[in-house]
Symmetry: C2
């Protein structure tokens, strides 16, 4: 039986198929929100599962579209939840944005305007770049008076747009002017998620919301560095020297995590602990089928008989 686009429907992860999956990969890539944690709470059994995977020699890598934190801040969050994860194992879209500039030899003397959080600014600094905007522009207001000119820095060579709960018209105009008026200015989106669980209880507009606003005013399309773009895979497979075919991407979203894994040539495992329900997965309108699905990360442990 094959799915809508010729994809075989996802197999429920079971004691019968887990060994084949486990033996076929050297690394597990985990999304974070809805997979590892919900808000500030670790999902049951995650700590033990990660420990067992490590003890069996699997490389663990964490790949998140959430750009609000830097890798250092993510490592700190893991630590505060009692899980040991190093900065080197973290790949956030904030880091990916800085890496995109680096691998494309973006000049250090050019500045980067940020519509987004402190995580992006920190990653830019780590990569040796000067970021402008971000939280600092969160309370700025515009003057809509005759003969008032809104000035922007002509040395801004890239605008990075991510999730920004402090979005305002000042930032939209600043970013728009840079992209429209500074020759060659890059327009980089951390990701285009429609919504995200910024709090436990409900979803909130995601980075896709700010990115779409900028697309509309600039009439341009961005370079997307987060999932489902495979840019992060290029960086991480080079770093760890593991072929993507020997990786399993574990995530809760079909259109970012699972599509990213498929685009990159990984095995894919959907967990139902986040935004995707089993009925969404099995709805005829869904044309993204992971290789496997299961309720939550700790099922791996149980099915392995650990």
């Amino acid at each position: 039986m094959s799915g809508q686009n010729g994809q075989a429907p996802a197999e429920l992860l079971s004691a019968n198929n887990i060994t084949a999956l486990f033996d076929s990969v050297d690394a597990f890539l985990f999304d974070c929100d809805g997979v590892i944690w919900k808000g500030d709470k670790l999902i049951d059994g995650v700590r033990q599962t990660l420990d067992v995977l490590r003890s069996k020699g699997k490389k663990l890598i964490f790949v998140t579209n959430n750009s609000r934190r830097s890798r250092r801040q993510y490592a700190h969050k893991f630590h505060s939840l009692g899980v040991s994860v190093s900065e080197d194992e973290m790949f956030s879209s904030s880091f990916a944005a800085a890496m995109y500039l680096k691998v494309n030899n973006f000049p250090q003397e050019n500045k980067v305007y940020v519509i987004g959080g402190e995580g992006i600014l920190e990653e830019l600094r780590q990569a040796g770049y000067t970021g402008l905007g971000g939280p600092e522009d969160g309370e700025k207001r515009v003057q809509l008076k005759s003969n008032c000119l809104f000035e922007h820095d002509k040395n801004v060579g890239a605008v990075v747009v991510g999730l920004d709960p402090h979005i305002n018209y000042y930032k939209l105009q600043y970013g728009t002017l840079c992209i429209r008026e500074n020759p060659g200015c890059l327009f980089i989106a951390t990701n285009r998620d429609a919504v995200g669980h910024l709090t436990d209880l409900q979803e909130w507009p995601g980075a896709g919301c700010m990115v779409a606003a900028m697309c509309a005013s600039t009439e341009k399309e961005p370079i997307v560095v987060g999932k489902p773009s495979t840019f992060m895979m290029e960086i991480l497979s080079k770093k760890f020297q593991i072929a993507s075919s020997r990786m399993c991407m574990v995530g809760d979203r079909l259109d970012t995590d699972i599509l990213f894994g498929q685009n990159a040539g990984c095995k894919t495992l959907l967990v139902l602990s986040g935004v995707t329900t089993q009925s969404t997965l099995q709805d005829p309108s869904n044309n993204i089928q992971p290789d496997y699905y299961t309720n939550q990360v700790s099922d791996i442990l149980e099915l392995l008989g650990q």
Copy 2:
């Protein structure tokens, strides 16, 4: 010679063709920004031109995508610039949004959430509706804490999105929740202009920016009531009992004004006093050709030999 899409290239308005245009129409429809005024300054010769057109029995109608003012506020602006225009002659996208609800029998007991300015709220009130949001929510902030639930009014049956220089995350989440969670909630856009001359000296992100943000978070497309949608034409041709083929739409934008005129079956006249330059008009990539073009509205007067 015909243009890209088989459209004849625009003719320069001249003493040779103006009589034919003048005699073929009973009404002139004018866009405002870039046609009648720039910011708070009337464009040279506009007052005299409008006077002569009226004295020759032409009906004057003003059709603007700018939703920041109500019709009453526009009539007041005209008056302050020394031009007599009545509310009845004004068609703004703020009015169109309220009219859309009215002609579709939107229940008076349902509420309307507004991402936009006071003009929309005033038109809603005039039409007997209760608007929420708008300027009043401009300084509201969100709480992104665990167990904090962002509440929205379950009686909101429509969200109207227009240009909003006070856009923030509170409004984006409020509008998104109404559209995603209130059954049958309408999503209405006043217009989708990419940018607009909010000040004399430069362009600023337009309503299209706020509309795109909402499209991204709701994953829905809006009903657009402003130009180039012909919804306003349905209202105004019924009101004045003039066939659209006996009207000439005068505007400075190809993708809103001229396209609106063409979609509605009017004659079209582009003026170069606003956002469109002659080189944009004549660029091979432009596939919207008005019937005529001229520098500014007052050329009509001059060419008529008045």
